[in-house]
Symmetry: D3
Subunit: 136 residues, 6 copies
Amino acid sequence: MIFLTRRERFNAAHRLFRKEWSDDKNFEVFGKCSNPNWHGHNYELFVTIKGDTSDETGFVINLKTLSKIVRERIIDKMDHKNLNIDVEFMAGKITTAENIAIAIWNEIEADIKAYDCHLHCVKVVETENNSIEYYG
Amino acid sequence: MIFLTRRERFNAAHRLFRKEWSDDKNFEVFGKCSNPNWHGHNYELFVTIKGDTSDETGFVINLKTLSKIVRERIIDKMDHKNLNIDVEFMAGKITTAENIAIAIWNEIEADIKAYDCHLHCVKVVETENNSIEYYG
Amino acid sequence: MIFLTRRERFNAAHRLFRKEWSDDKNFEVFGKCSNPNWHGHNYELFVTIKGDTSDETGFVINLKTLSKIVRERIIDKMDHKNLNIDVEFMAGKITTAENIAIAIWNEIEADIKAYDCHLHCVKVVETENNSIEYYG
Amino acid sequence: MIFLTRRERFNAAHRLFRKEWSDDKNFEVFGKCSNPNWHGHNYELFVTIKGDTSDETGFVINLKTLSKIVRERIIDKMDHKNLNIDVEFMAGKITTAENIAIAIWNEIEADIKAYDCHLHCVKVVETENNSIEYYG
Amino acid sequence: MIFLTRRERFNAAHRLFRKEWSDDKNFEVFGKCSNPNWHGHNYELFVTIKGDTSDETGFVINLKTLSKIVRERIIDKMDHKNLNIDVEFMAGKITTAENIAIAIWNEIEADIKAYDCHLHCVKVVETENNSIEYYG
Amino acid sequence: MIFLTRRERFNAAHRLFRKEWSDDKNFEVFGKCSNPNWHGHNYELFVTIKGDTSDETGFVINLKTLSKIVRERIIDKMDHKNLNIDVEFMAGKITTAENIAIAIWNEIEADIKAYDCHLHCVKVVETENNSIEYYG
C-alpha cells in the first residue's frame, strides 16, 4: 500500500458568518473573518490517495487522472470564486477550512474509487499558519 | 548603505474590473479575476528600506518601528478586507498588484523618511507565481 | 473527526550536553551542537488537534483559542530564550528536538482537552532538514 | 514513541517507459515523462524513523548516524545519476516515485533496525505538486 | 516604472561537459554534473519585465500574455526534455544555468518588446542553493 | 555580465546589546533580542557574485570554488557558534543582521576577486520576515 499526494491550488473569497446572527455576534465568534465585504486566500489543496502500485506502470494512479478529477470537480468550481456564493457544494455551509475539506472529500471520493484507489486524506492549507486534514 | 526588508502578510478579497465596462468586456480583459462575486489572495508584502547603520545600535531602522509603520498604515487596513470596497487608499483604482504596490508606497514613504531612512522597494506577492516590485 | 494544525515559531538558543560529561565526551556524542557558548535555531512548532466540527461554527476549535494557548504556554516562554537556562519546563532535560516536542505536549495537553478537543501531534522543526513528531 | 524525520536531496535524470512498448504506447501511458532523451528532477527524500528517546542523549537516533546511512545507501548512488541506468537497486523497475520510495525503503530498513529504531516512512517529493509516501 | 515577475517551471535532464574533453577532464572541471548518463533538475524560471502601468487596466502587461510567451517560447521546449539534446536554442552550448538564462533571454526579448514592455531579468533557479540572474 | 547566487546556512546564538548599557536600557532598545542568556537563529546566507561567463566552461565561477570560499571563511566560523563570543570578525560589534552582512562581505571580498569575479551582494536572512542586503 502506497500513498500519493497531489497538490492543486485555488484563490477564493469567503466570509465566516451565520445569517441569523447580527454582525456583532458574528464578529465576536469569527473575528475579522466575518468582514461583510469578504476577504480571501490562496488555498492549497493536497489530495492523498492510497492503493497498490500497478506492476505494469509502477503507478498507484496516473497523476494525470488524479489531477483531472481534482481540477474538474474542485478547482474549476472554487478557483477565483466566492466560496459562500459561487460554489454549489458549499451552499448553506459555513466556509471554514474544516467544512471546505469535508465538502471536497465528498465531491471526489466516488470518482477516485472508480479507479481502484481509495481517498486517504484531503488537506486544505488556508495560510502558512493554518491547515486542516480530513480522513473521511 | 544597507538594505533591510520586512515581510508582512494580508489576506484580502478583490476583483479586477472597470465599472463602465460590461461583464463580458471585463471577462475578456481580466479573465476569471473579474468574477463579480470576488475572489481573494494571501498577499505577501515585502518592504525594503535603505540607509546607513547606526553606530550605536547596528540598525538601519529598528525593526519594531518599521513593522509598526507597515502594520498601522497597511496591514490593519488591508488584512481581511475587500480591497475594492474597504480600503480608502485604493478607492477608484483597479486593484491589480501593480496598483496595490504603488498605493502602499505612497502610504508609507513619508513615515519612513521621518526615521532618516529611504523607502527602496515595495514588493507585493499575489501568488507563488506572480509578484510586483515598485521602486518609486 | 477532523485535524487542525496551527503553526507558531520561536527563535531560541540551546546546547546539547550532559553536565557530568567532559567537553570532549559531549563533543563526541553531540558534535558541534555541544558548543559551550551555545548556538540557536528558528524553531517551527506545528500543533495538531483533532475533534468534531461544531455545527454552529464549523470549527473544531476557534483558531484564536488554540493560538492563545500555544502562545501563552509555549511561545512566550521559549521565544528569544535560552532553552537550557530560561525555560522552566525544560529544566534538567537535554534540549534535543525530541525532548522539546515531548515537553511541549505535556504543557498544552490539558488546556486543549478543556475545549473538548484532543491534542494529536506536536511537531518541532529545528532546521529545514530535521524535524520531530510526537503523538503522546 | 517519537518520530524523527531527516531530509536529504538528490538531483537525477529518469524516464518512465516499458522497453517492450513502442514510443507511442509509452507516450500514451506516461506522457511527456517518457521522453526517450530523459528528463529530471530535484528529488527531496524524507526518511522518518520511530523509536524511544534515549535517557542518556535525548535522541531517538543520532542524526549523524541517520544521515550517514541515507547518504551512503541512497544519496551517493542516486544524486547526479540516471535512475534508469546508474542505480543498481532500480534495475528493471519503472522509475516512478512510487517505485523509488519502495526501493529506498528496502535499501535502508535493515541498517536502521541495527540502531534499535524502526523505519516508519519514506517520502519522495518529485515536484512541488507530487509526492509519494511508503510505510512498508 | 514597475516590475512584474512571472514564475514558470520546467523539469529537465542535462549534462555539463565539453565533447572534446575526456571523461576524466570533464569530471575534473564539472564534477558529478558531467555524469555521461545525465542528471536533472526541477528548474524554476522567473521572468521579470518592466514598464508603465496602463491607466485602463492597471497592468504592466496582462499576465496571460506574459505566461503565454514564456510557455510557448521556453517551457514547451524545455519541460521534460534533455537540455543538451532536445532544445534547439541550447545547441552547441554548455548547459550551465548561466547559459540557460542567457539563451532564455534571447528567445523571449523580442516578443516582450512587442507588447511595449522591456525584459528586465531572467532568473534560473537550479536548486534551492544555486541560482543565476541575467539582465541582458 | 551575469549574477550567480549561492545559498549557505548557519545556525547560531547571539544577543543584541551594548556592554555599557544597563539591561533595562538594552531591553528598551533591542527588546527581547537583548536576552542576557542569548537566543538564536537559522541564518540563511545568499552570496551573489557577478562576472562574465567563461567560454570554456559556461561558468561565471565554479560553484565548488564559491562554496568552498564561503564555507571556509564564514560557515565554519559561524555555524553552531555564538556570534558575540566565538566569531573573531564580529568581535566588538553588535551582532545585528546588518553588521553580520557587512562583516561577511569584508571576509570574502578579496577571495572572490582572486577568481576574476566581483562580489555583488551579501544577503542575510534572519527569519522568514526579516532580511538584510549589503552591496559594499
